[in-house]
């Protein structure tokens, strides 16, 4: 199987005046072609910084120490000059953020924002060509009146509509990898469900691989083929989504599943006793511990 993304032993630390804080302690993660992979964890677990490293956003900052390797379609991102890495962004890989309304520029209408995206692959694309292409892309995300949307400012559209515009833009240049950081978290549940269905259909059609970052267990369960559970910068469990949810092997994963209230009832989730087991390995062979 060809790997679209291959992260090996990735470590990340931020240096500041008060010392070094280690954020990722050697995580490994792979995504095959067309695979939907979730990275699930709580705030501060390191899931968003992982996406930022893949996008190449952290490498350019000062005070950031990264070791390990990130290979995208067989190319080592760490060995790549900044200029080449930047060229991948918005073309071969793109990202959808949590809050669609603040990800779009409020002072431009949707059409010129589309032009900017399309120009990454087709420099100097005309406005009329942009509108033709954007109309198709907006129809793909089930927007009924693409012409009206193209002539609107983001604040004139609903949150769900903006999220669909973001998805259309992210998929405009047919990226091999889509990074989705908490997509739909800022939306109402009914809109969130529609958005995820739509996103799943589109990535399946185009064979796009997805790194899906979320703290919402329900959303991960419904969207991802495979799931990685991250806790304090360590991957504690990995496997097919169904297995991870139905038969969690790690104490931390089990605690997460137990803490999630269920719509079938069963009372308030059990109190979690403490986190001393969360960093233990899943399997300890006899005679080692």
């Amino acid at each position: 199987m060809t790997l679209v993304l291959n992260i090996r032993d990735l470590q990340l630390a931020f240096k500041s005046w008060s010392g070094t804080s280690e954020v990722l302690h050697g995580i490994s993660l792979t995504i095959g072609k067309g695979e939907r992979v979730a990275l699930v964890g709580e705030s501060g677990s390191g899931k968003s910084v992982t996406a930022r490293i893949v996008l190449g956003l952290l490498q350019e900052l000062r005070g950031v120490q990264i070791s390990g390797s990130v290979e995208f379609q067989g190319q080592d991102l760490g060995a790549m000059p900044d200029r080449e890495r930047r060229a991948l962004r918005g073309t071969a890989m793109s990202m959808i953020f949590q809050d669609p309304t603040s990800s779009l520029n409020p002072v431009f209408k949707i059409a010129p924002q589309f032009q900017e995206v399309l120009a990454r692959v087709t420099p100097g694309i005309s406005m009329s060509a942009t509108r033709v292409r954007a109309t198709d892309l907006l129809r793909e995300v089930a927007i009924a009146e693409p012409e009206r949307v193209l002539d609107s400012y983001p604040f004139q559209l609903s949150g769900g509509m903006n999220q669909r515009v973001m998805i259309a833009m992210a998929l405009a240049n047919r990226p091999a990898l889509l990074l989705a950081d908490e997509p739909g978290t800022a939306l109402d549940v009914t809109v969130q469900a529609q958005t995820l269905d739509l996103m799943r259909a589109l990535v399946t059609d185009h064979g796009t691989s997805v790194l899906f970052i979320s703290h919402n267990l329900g959303v991960v369960r419904e969207f991802a083929d495979r799931t990685y559970v991250i806790y304090r910068g360590n991957i504690v469990e990995e496997g097919p989504t169904r297995d991870v949810f139905e038969n969690p092997g790690h104490p931390y994963t089990r605690a997460l599943m137990a803490a999630q209230p269920k719509i079938t009832g069963g009372g308030l989730p059990d109190l979690v006793e403490g986190d001393r087991h969360y960093l233990e390995p899943r399997f300890v062979h006899e005679g080692v511990a």
Partner: protein
């Protein structure tokens, strides 16, 4: 006997030329000691309802009755003391320049509860009540975790010994493990202090496990009101069904239940 009664409550906002009817004709009795969940999506009117109960703005129509008496448009200090609020985001609910203890003591000072000699002891007691160590009183809220901050906000609501607490998405900003602890704390406090909750949320999984009754709101109207069990097993309104069917779930059991609702 009902503690809070909403009588044909309605609120409209004037925006430019047109009128937005945020809440229309809501009549609802909240029983003493119950946990009534107010459920709905953005724009459903649930926050407007909370603000009307708290008296933050006057209703356009109808009235709010508390403990058998109609609440005036301009609330007195005593009225404000009797209904307390816990907000969604604990980071912005507490003054970052005031220590945790000072924030709690301010609530006691404003409402003249106790004397300056007894207040520090009461602050310590409040912190213990929400499962926090007493020495947290000296710390700044900025040095606390999200869960600890929300506990402080809850302690502040308890400080006034009010009987009704409006909880506006109290656990939406928290991680799932912390959420579980805060929900358990809220349930314990309700039982220990005989509190009544108006629990505003969009999270139906939380509602199922904490509420006694559920009121579903859509576009400013209450579309369904029932015991929690009934709302989930036999929802009548199409919107309620749609809402429950859209909840992302993690177990097969939940999926079966949800699929059953969306098909029938």
């Amino acid at each position: 006997m009902s503690l809070l009664s909403l009588r044909q409550l309605g609120k409209s906002f004037q925006t430019g030329a047109h009128e937005v009817r945020a809440l229309q004709d809501v009549t609802l009795d909240v029983a003493d000691g119950e946990c009534l969940a107010i459920v709905g999506e953005s724009g459903s009117g649930k926050s407007t309802l909370a603000n009307l109960v708290l008296g933050l703005f006057p209703p356009t129509t109808g009235a709010v009755e508390f403990d058998g008496a109609e609440l005036p448009v301009v609330r007195t200090l005593a009225h404000r003391r009797s209904i307390q609020l816990v907000q969604q985001n604990p980071a912005s609910a507490l003054n970052p320049r005031r220590s945790v203890g000072a924030s709690l003591q301010l609530a006691l000072d404003v409402h003249g509860i106790g004397t300056s000699d007894t207040r520090p002891a009461r602050v310590a007691e409040l912190l213990r009540d929400v499962g926090l160590p007493e020495d947290l009183a000296r710390r700044s809220p900025t040095s606390l975790s999200g869960g600890q901050r929300q506990r402080v906000a809850i302690a502040r609501a308890l400080a006034c010994e009010s009987r009704l607490v409006v909880l506006d998405e109290p656990t939406s900003a928290l991680d799932v493990l912390v959420q579980a602890q805060v929900l358990r704390l809220l349930a314990d406090l309700r039982a220990r202090h005989n509190l009544t909750y108006l629990f505003i949320t969009h999270d139906l999984a939380v509602v199922r496990n904490i509420a006694t009754r559920v009121a579903v709101f859509s576009q400013g109207r209450m579309v369904e009101l029932a015991e929690t069990e009934t709302i989930f097993t036999a929802p009548q309104d199409p919107y309620t069904r749609r809402l429950i069917s859209a909840v992302p779930v993690i177990t097969e059991e939940e999926k079966t239940m949800r699929n059953g609702l969306s098909q029938s």
